[in-house]
Point group: C2
Chain length 415, copies 2
C-alpha cells in the first residue's frame, strides 16, 4: 500500500497529517479547500517498475494499491476498474488521428466510472471504522455508493435531485439505499448531504468533498498507461461535471511521471456541456490570471451526469488540467447526443449522453485545430447508455413493427 | 486455437466436417438436430495445464482460444467474458452452504452473458466471410449481436417480440441495427429470422440454431473453474430460456474433465420461471424415459429473457444437464423478483429478473433438500438490472421526496 504522507489543501497548500481531516481544509473550507493526497514519490520511484502492477495479478484498480491510500484488505468484494481499452484504427484513420483508444468505463460494477472513487472511499470508511456512508450525486456516484455499501453490508444514505433518470433511481432502490429525492437542484442536494452526514456521523463520499474519490478516479489513467504499453499518448478527453473525474485522470498521469514510470503527461481535456460549463469558464478566468472562484452558474443539459451548476472540485480540475497543458471544451446537447449515437454505432460502446461527451469534444477540438492531425488520443467513456436510454436515443427513428411474414422483411430491406 | 474435429448432431449422433454445415443437422432439422462442436480432447489433454489460459494474458474469453472453434484473430474489439466471480462467505453462512460464489456476467460489453455466444458467433462469421448477421431474441442476444456487429462494422438484422423491455430496444437502436419488432411471440420472431437469414444470406446467431453460441457460453464455466482455483464446486445454477446458456455451462465443465483439467463436473441446475417451464417439463419426461420433444408450451413470466415457449436448445439442455447429475427447478415470478432484490441488496449485484432467477432457484433447492447443507455453489447472474429496471423493482417502495432541509432528513431517519 502507498502510505500517504500528507493531505494537502489544493488552494493554501497547508499540509495535514493523513486521516487527521476527513474532507476539506478547515482554513479554506469547501470548494477552495479540497484536499490532495500526497505520497512519498521518491520512495515509490525506487520500488516501482512497469511490471509491478501486473505482478499483483489483480484484475481491478487494486492492482495499483501501491499508489492508493488504503490497502486491498479493506476492499469490498466487487470488481472496480481494469476496464477494457479498445483501439480503433478505422476511426483513427477517418479522423486523421495517429491512434484512437476508447476506455470503456461503463463496464464497472454499477456501470459508471464513479465506482473507482467509490471503491477507495468505501475502503477508507472501513479502514476508519465508519459504519454508514452518504453522498449527494446527480445519479452515478450515488448508485455506485449504494452498490458498494450493499456489498460491504453497511447502510447508505443518498441525496439526488428530483430529475435523476429513472434507471439510476432504480439501481438505488434495488441496492437498498435510503434515498432522499431532494425537491431542488443537485447543488441543494449536495449541501443537504454535507449537513446530514455531519449530524448523523455518516462518511460522505460526495465528489469534491471526499479526497478519496480522486484517488480512485486516477486509476483510470494508470490503466490506460498500462494498457497502451509502449505507444505514447498525446491527448486524453473526459467529461467534467463536478471536476473530480477529470482531476483524477490528470493526477494519475502526473503521478506516473512522479514515480518515474512515464516521461510525460498527455494533454488532458475536460468536456462540458455548453449549458453547464462552470469549470470551462473558471478555466478561462484562470488562464487570464483571474481567480478560479466563484464558479456558480446555471446548469441545463441533456447529459444529467454533468448537469452541475456549482462544481465542487473546480479548483483541482482547473489547476490539474492546466498543468497538463490541456484545457476545457464545451459541446452542445445535439453534439453530445449524436456523439453517443456515433460511439455506439461505430465502436459498439453504448454510453449515456455525458459518457459520450468526449467524442463530441474530440470532434470539436479537431475542427478547431487544438488536436492536430496524427495525434494519439484516448476517450474516457464514463457511464453506460443503459443509465439513461432515452437520453441517448433522442432523434433516432423507432423500430419497424412488422407482421411475422417474410414479405414484410423483404419489403423493408428492399429484397 | 482448438481446431474442431466435427460438428455432431445432438440427437442422431451423425458427424459433419467442421464448417460444412452452418446450423442444424440436415437429417434431424431444427430443435432435434442442434449441432455440438467436438475437439480432439486427447490432444488437448496433452497440451493443456492449469496455467495455460493465464499465460495468454487475455482478460476475455479469448484466453480459452485452445477450446474454441475460432481463433482470436477473428475477434471483434470488445471484451467479452472474464467477468468477476465474487465469493460471499456471509451469505453462504446464512444459507448453510460451504461456499457461495456469484458469477457476475452482467459485466459483459452489452451487459449480459449473451456476449459470450455472440463473440464466438461473430468471429465465426468473419472467419467464414459472411458480411451480415441476424438473430431472433427475447432481447439480450439481440443487443449483444447488435453491439458486436457495430464494433465489427458489419450490418445486423434483429427480430424481437414486441414485448421486449425498452432499454433493450434502446441498445439495439443505438448500435444501429435494423430492428424488426415482430407483431407476435418470440417463437414467431424466431421462425422469421431463420427464413429471412436464409433468403438474404445473413449469418444467423440465434440460440439453439447456431452451434457457435454454446461454444461461447461454455467459457462462463471455464472462468468459474479458473477463478475458484483449488476449491471444489458442487452445484452451478443458471437461468434457462432457450437452453443455450445452461447447455454451455454444462459443456464447459464437461470439457474441463475431458481435457484432464478437472476431476468431476458440478451438478448443473437450470432455473426456469414457473410460467415458462418447457425445458423443465421436457427434463421430467426424459427422466421418465420419454422423448424430450415436443417441448412447446405457453410462456408467461416477468423475466422476459427466459420468456420462451418453444426452447430451441431443449435437447442439448436436457441431455447435458442430466449428464451432470443436475436438473431443472422452477420458481414463481414473486420468487424471481424478490431474488433480484435480495441479490442487489445483499451482494451489490443488480440483475434483471431472469438474471437473478438462480438465487430464487437456490433457495428452493435448499428448501427441497436437493442442495444439501455445506454444499459449494455458484450462481451465474446473466443480465444486468439496467436491462429491465421496472421488472427488478416490482413491489419496492418509491423513494422519499423531501424539501432541501435537514429537519426533513432527521424526521425520516428518526434522528
Amino acid at each position: 500500500m502507498g502510505e500517504p504522507i500528507a493531505f494537502r489543501c489544493v488552494s493554501c497548500g497547508r499540509e495535514y497529517d493523513p486521516w487527521s481531516v476527513d474532507y476539506a481544509c478547515p482554513r479554506c473550507g469547501p470548494l477552495s479547500g479540497t484536499l490532495e493526497v500526497l505520497y512519498d514519490y521518491r520512495a515509490l520511484a525506487r520500488r516501482l517498475v512497469p511490471g509491478s502492477f501486473a505482478e499483483t495479478r489483480r484484475n481491478s484498480l487494486w492492482r495499483y494499491e501501491e499508489l492508493l491510500p488504503v490497502g486491498v484488505e479493506y476492499a469490498v468484494p466487487l470488481r472496480p476498474g481494469w476496464t477494457p481499452l479498445y483501439e480503433s484504427p478505422t476511426l483513427a484513420a477517418e479522423l486523421g488521428l495517429g491512434a484512437l483508444w476508447i476506455k470503456d468505463d461503463t463496464l464497472n460494477p454499477t456501470a459508471s466510472c464513479k465506482d473507482r472513487g467509490t471503491a477507495v472511499a468505501v475502503a477508507a470508511a472501513r479502514k476508519l471504522g465508519r459504519d454508514a456512508c452518504a453522498c449527494a450525486s446527480t445519479g452515478n456516484a450515488a448508485t455506485s455508493l449504494a452498490g458498494f455499501c450493499a456489498a460491504a453490508g453497511i447502510p447508505c444514505y443518498i441525496f439526488v435531485p428530483k430529475n435523476a433518470p429513472r434507471p439510476k433511481v432504480a439501481q438505488l432502490l434495488a441496492f437498498g439505499a435510503m434515498v432522499f429525492v431532494v425537491d431542488g437542484t443537485y447543488d441543494e442536494a449536495y449541501e443537504l448531504a454535507i449537513q446530514a452526514a455531519d449530524r448523523f456521523g455518516w462518511y460522505n463520499r460526495s465528489d469534491g468533498w471526499n479526497p478519496m474519490v480522486v484517488e480512485g478516479n486516477k486509476t483510470g489513467a494508470l490503466e490506460v498507461w498500462e494498457q497502451i504499453g509502449e505507444a505514447s499518448l498525446d491527448f486524453a478527453l473526459v467529461a467534467a461535471g463536478d471536476g473530480s473525474v477529470v482531476s483524477g485522470v490528470c493526477k494519475g498521469f502526473q503521478e506516473l511521471v512522479k514515480v518515474g514510470l512515464a516521461d510525460r503527461v498527455p494533454r488532458v481535456y475536460g468536456v462540458q456541456a455548453a449549458g453547464a460549463a462552470a469549470i470551462a469558464h473558471a478555466f478561462e478566468r484562470h488562464e487570464q490570471g483571474r481567480p478560479i472562484l466563484p464558479a456558480e452558474e446555471g446548469a441545463d443539459t441533456v447529459a444529467d451526469s454533468i448537469r452541475v451548476g456549482k462544481p465542487r472540485d473546480v479548483v483541482k480540475a482547473v489547476r490539474y488540467v492546466a498543468a497538463t497543458g490541456g484545457g476545457f471544451v464545451t459541446v452542445t446537447d445535439d453534439e453530445i447526443v449524436s456523439g453517443a449515437q456515433e460511439l455506439a454505432r461505430r465502436a459498439g460502446v453504448f454510453a449515456e449522453p455525458a459518457g459520450a461527451a468526449p467524442w463530441a469534444g474530440l470532434v470539436r477540438l479537431l475542427r478547431e485545430g487544438a488536436v492536430p492531425e496524427g495525434a494519439k488520443v484516448v476517450l474516457f467513456i464514463t457511464g453506460s447508455g443503459l443509465k439513461d436510454p432515452e437520453g441517448a436515443l433522442r432523434g433516432l427513428p423507432e423500430p419497424t413493427l412488422i407482421p411475422p411474414r417474410i414479405e414484410a422483411v423483404a419489403e423493408a430491406v428492399g429484397g
